[in-house]
Symmetry: C2
Subunit: 379 residues, 2 copies
């Protein structure tokens, strides 16, 4: 028997009660049994997204919801701005360019946090009225301050990719005036991949012109208002989502955010105690993913392979130019401090086996100590 | 305890071993465990689609795969032809028109079978080189002769929607020279909704220009050739698909087609014995869905509601102009003759309770008798 541990920033582990719900017999999507599930899900999503506006549901991965925003909000030739500081910022740019938009890329080094004032100046100077950014770029672990970015943009419509951050870090969609939030099921929502979401603010609807059939926002909204779906929805995933949302709201969003923040602290404390260097920012914003430099002389892909084959532990690799250089621990969703302990122990063991010089026997103690500190007492 | 019976043409019932596979812990889509599942699925899909060409996999409903064909094969202003004889033919037209194509609609009355010679003449006269049609239009139960349509088209590229027919009726994709087959998971493949497929013939690739990011065929093919996916795939559904394909191939495609054909016969025999009038064609092609006129004075939506609330049996309603007039029994996928017996018994009971004059006590016997006849001995 080899136990397996999934510590990637998506897909993430799914609680057994969610898995069990997905294994129940299939319900017809227009039957009364399903409609009560669907009604709870549509209401629960609004709570999770912190908005009273519609949260549209698509059967797709998060990238489908990202493309839906481009195809419902822009037409070819439009000038738009993208704030990019990682792999998923580059994805916004690729989607916009695929559809003939004129993209003003506001780029930061991967691992750097975007500066809201700079972004605001760039957008206001260029007169662009549609801006895309990430709340969390999973490729680097950077969580940006989308409230500040929103505040700096004036009247421009802001679309935030919260695929990996929704449910993990605060996102006051309506209170902060964020126009569109896109997200996915396979991160902090504790579900398998296959569902994606887009919340759309009231003022945004006036600029919506769908240039897509499958991701048509008005058709999706119209169907949802009748507790229907524009296309046969992934009913088993939606039953799982019903259970997962209940778990999340039972814990409470504030408690979940607190837990993720302390998981990030625990991961960073353990990593540093081992003598490793962090790639993701060493502050409380890094509550989703902890990205770590591989020690000198050790290719991070070799480390990941060793972790997986020798110890059954799956972490995530570096992407793009960071391939082989960093590795990442996702700590989102159905995740607790004991998981951090397992991840750190496996890293410690594997690096030792691969011949790296690291401090042994201190990482998990440092992690548990960091986790125990209440949030309010630390700077 | 009220047992529930799902006899709709999608979503369809899912076998317990498939449900159990989907309830297993989440695998990372780039890990070795998942890649072996994925390799079997990609190979198995080729067997099911009867082609040696790539079968592209999307996390979406079948309509997503339909739109993918339009967005990869046509550019705005292109003239295309659509053969429409039901709700899903109209969907092809709507997708094509959404993307600015010039659509030549070759329409037949709902319930009528398209005539291959007529379709061929219309296409050849107009010089259109891209044609969309349905193998099975779920809204009417009509299964068209796509081999004959293919033969009548000359060199034009043919895209066949086999969402509800793949695995239920013969479709010799490569042997018949069908260029593109799109399908979905929630019909004869015995899976929940959430996955869609597009097989693309070798000669078709030269005309592919993706005008979509999420449904980009070349990017999807490139990823699949590396046993990767362009976007995080619906891993739990793919694990279920692995089991479902094994079940289907263990039965054997020929045996599955034989079973569906006899299920259609059984449904029609029972319906007629009761004294009801068929809407779908009364021949062996109607192996997917049996559509039935509601008796005089009974709104079919009332019948369906009665079936569902009183007896726990879900059938499908009439769509469009057929709403209230017909009802439909889907008999695809994980379905046997005892299910036909339950469906007929529940219809008989409900119609009696609603005051219709029907022949009682004969439908199931007629159905079982029809089912027992070997396929080859009947005309």
């Amino acid at each position: 028997v080899e136990k397996r541990y999934l510590f990637t920033p998506g897909p993430t582990p799914v609680p057994p009660e969610v898995l069990a719900a997905m294994a129940e017999p299939i319900l017809h999507h227009r039957g009364a049994d399903f409609r009560s599930v669907y009604e709870r899900v549509l209401g629960g999503l609004k709570e999770v997204v912190c908005t009273s506006d519609d949260v549209l549901v698509f059967s797709s991965s998060g990238s489908g919801a990202m493309e839906s925003a481009v195809l419902n909000l822009a037409t070819p030739g439009d000038r738009v701005a993208v704030v990019s500081h990682g792999s998923f910022g580059e994805r916004w740019i690729a989607i916009c360019e695929r559809h003939g938009l004129d993209v003003q890329a506001i780029r930061y080094a991967w691992g750097e946090k975007p500066n809201a004032d700079e972004v605001g100046s760039a957008v206001r100077e260029s007169g662009v009225d549609l801006v895309f950014c990430q709340q969390s770029d999973t490729s680097t672990g950077v969580v940006s301050d989308v409230q500040a970015i929103r505040g700096a943009l004036g009247d421009a419509t802001l679309v935030v990719d919260a695929v990996s951050s929704l449910g993990a870090v605060p996102l006051e969609t309506e209170a902060w005036g964020i126009d569109v939030v896109v997200s996915g099921s396979q991160k902090a929502l504790m579900l398998p991949p296959g569902l994606a979401f887009a919340s759309v603010s009231e003022r945004t609807w006036s600029r919506v012109t769908p240039r897509t059939f499958y991701f048509d926002w008005p058709a999706t909204r119209k169907a949802q208002h009748k507790l229907d779906a524009a296309f046969t929805p992934a009913v088993s995933l939606l039953r799982g989502l019903d259970v997962a949302i209940a778990l999340l709201l039972d814990e409470g969003l504030a408690a979940a955010f607190d837990r993720h923040l302390r998981l990030g602290r625990a991961a960073r404390a353990g990593v540093k105690a081992m003598g490793l260097e962090l790639f993701s920012p060493d502050d409380d914003s890094s509550a989703v993913v902890t990205a770590i430099h591989s020690p000198d002389g050790i290719d991070s892909d070799d480390l990941l392979k060793h972790l997986r084959t020798r110890h059954g532990v799956t972490l995530a690799p570096g992407q793009g130019a960071l391939k082989g250089k960093i590795f990442r621990i996702g700590h989102i969703g159905w995740f607790d401090v004991f998981d951090i302990g397992v991840a750190l122990s496996a890293i410690e063991l594997s690096l030792t086996e691969l011949g790296a010089e690291i401090e042994r026997g201190v990482a998990t103690a440092a992690a548990f100590e960091a986790y125990e500190q209440p949030v309010s007492t630390l700077p």
